[in-house]
Symmetry: C2
Subunit: 196 residues, 2 copies
Amino acid sequence: MTLKIYIAGPEVFLPNGLEIVERKRALCRDYGFEPSARQGDFLKHAGGDKFTFGVLISGHNEALMRESDIVVANLTPFRGISADPGTVYELGFMCALDRPAFAYTNTARGYHERVVNDYYRGNVTAGVNGRQAGSDGHMIEDHDMVDNLMLDGGIDRLGGFVVRHKAPAGGEFTDLSGYEQCLSRIRDGGWAERLA
Amino acid sequence: MTLKIYIAGPEVFLPNGLEIVERKRALCRDYGFEPSARQGDFLKHAGGDKFTFGVLISGHNEALMRESDIVVANLTPFRGISADPGTVYELGFMCALDRPAFAYTNTARGYHERVVNDYYRGNVTAGVNGRQAGSDGHMIEDHDMVDNLMLDGGIDRLGGFVVRHKAPAGGEFTDLSGYEQCLSRIRDGGWAERLA
């Protein structure tokens, strides 16, 4: 059985996004997997309004997810301290369908560290009931995870894993070493047989 | 048929989160719905490591989602320009199960405006191929939506809607007017009959 992989990540927003997406699809094949068809970003705006066009792309991507066996998600923080929301939605979508999820992030720094240092700039207090809180009073969770516990928890429940890879500065969105580590571990973990 | 609602949102992180969650659950009942049981935040850390504890909460919440008929998600931007990642994961999860999703956000400002003004502070360019780009070169999408197109698209596909409500300053996480608008519209939209 050749596993079909849905490749989730914010690459579509990069100026050379198409090139990186195609490189990720080619790497899928190199490791013995089949990449899902390209996601809907290539669809042409056919005259409807902007909202309708967005819905069209979303529907295309949801259909690709339903026909994929597993997902490999790029959880590298995007426009803030957390993963790209589109990627997070897709991760939840695949986990609900019990399709094993694997992820990588191009930072070695966990969610707690990013919340405390990047978002709150260290302005945190011991909080109430022993729970740490930010300067806005919001509780800061620490589960030794790469993002909100629903993400890491969903991945873990189905036997998946998250690769933390420290990409060189400037390579946060183009370095594919963590991605390749994912593919290699999925192949060596015998997932094709487990899902056959 | 009494619809069971999974209430998704970042309230658990508020100092008075438990109180707000219980108010949201009570409002569910006021509008003729059944709220799902409280989410796993109340679980006690029973000695395992932090990661295992997070997985326990995640599994509890996933079980609650599977037994709920619809989801009402609070997509108010949390710790940045996008919705809370846990809420986004849960939205994708419910949409994959074809459970209609409804949402509200306590800001009237759409995703495009928040990306351009809040994240990039107006430092954007016309970009390549006519696509607007931020100072980091990343493309900025504009689909007239409240967040990434996968979120709004998934909600729309199943017939749901997003309420945009401008909460008074300081009330972004406690104002429940948008939430009540959601409940009212779900009731009046005959969803209990449609899903019976």
